[in-house]
Symmetry: C2
Subunit: 254 residues, 2 copies
Amino acid sequence: MSGRLIVVGLGPGNPDQVTPEALAAVADAEDFFGYFPYIDRLDLRADQRRHASDNRAELARARAALEMAAKGGKVCVVSGGDPGVFAMAAAVCEAIDEGPAEWRDIEFSVVPGITAMLAVAAKAGAPLGHDFCAISLSNNLKPWDVIEKRLIAAAEAGFVMAFYNPVSKARPHQLGDAFVLLRRHLPGEVPVIFGRAAGRPDEAIRIVPLSQAESGMADMATCVIVGTAETKLIERDGLRPLVYSPRFFKGAGA
Amino acid sequence: MSGRLIVVGLGPGNPDQVTPEALAAVADAEDFFGYFPYIDRLDLRADQRRHASDNRAELARARAALEMAAKGGKVCVVSGGDPGVFAMAAAVCEAIDEGPAEWRDIEFSVVPGITAMLAVAAKAGAPLGHDFCAISLSNNLKPWDVIEKRLIAAAEAGFVMAFYNPVSKARPHQLGDAFVLLRRHLPGEVPVIFGRAAGRPDEAIRIVPLSQAESGMADMATCVIVGTAETKLIERDGLRPLVYSPRFFKGAGA
């Protein structure tokens, strides 16, 4: 008897950025799996059960959720932001792929959410207004030389970049190393946005030129957006400048 | 007397994917500017005014909205998806940058939304589960050789790609040309997802290997996601296969 598993994106943390679709999925489930701060965001009924776990336990959490769904449970796995962007949807798919055949019969669905780079970009103007990429800087899951290769490719090809997992206690150096590398491939005046807790009461948005960007300006909860040579800054009296990447690239229409 | 201008993302078209923040912004504005199908989605009061315009008129629309806000209006510019991703936020910033100095005093904000690639990815599994990029295939705004350079860079560096504006009546060939190019840089079995109207009643999701991907499988309302050599397909009896890009890249943890 197979149950169902739904992976739900709760957005960046502002309750007004949670979709009605996500709320309905939460109301309709019985067992909740997720990293404990995301589970803590849920307003659950007495008959709904919490199975919170630690940050680094994604695959074990996915397997536990699938086991419960395979027994007929109505299971919800929660992610911050969007579950498909460096979050739980891929971990659940991976567990299905490697797990027992009956896990493929589980009714599986994903509810999208506002991912961090969209919330941070909205606060800054329109830095993602042109072609862009999203890169996780964590080398827990891929070697650093692959990350370096991608940073150079993105800078040379003119993609705006959004960095997820820019730093952690176990990895204090990656973001600084990335800035050193990018300064060799991009002009020093390229705007860099540090967006922490966008849309939450403790929101902090900081904009600095690449030449002055430092690892210490970010923590685990920060999404970092690095512009291109085309990205522009609009200064405003008494207001934070706007950052945008023009839709138009020189030479178009040819 | 400066008013205010808010750019609001309405998501991919499913009302359950519109955030409370977006609804509150709509309720609080008096004049609405946007491409007419997005304006048509709004449930406005008798005292709220519609200023719908055509698809290609982004900059003129942005200027008209700013002019009204500069006169004290409470103006809302609506976008489908997220306004910061190939949509109106960049057009408004561009108009502010090039417009009269007083436009910089307008209270300006952006409300993020679920962008198409997140909605399509959710329907397919987790194809954006690893590093990815978003590319507009329209050469109205950038030369085709820049697009080709970015496609090759993204394929070679191992980014999953999401294509916005994949085809239009005026540009029927770009997507097919992109597939021909990508087949030289990626294995033929790489999964390609054609996601049309994700989350709406007329939703259509189709998954084919890159070797069989054709331009005719997409229209203007389609978001196309191209995997990498690492992206995997999970076959399921009687169900659409799941597509995911593993979080782990070989050689990690070194």
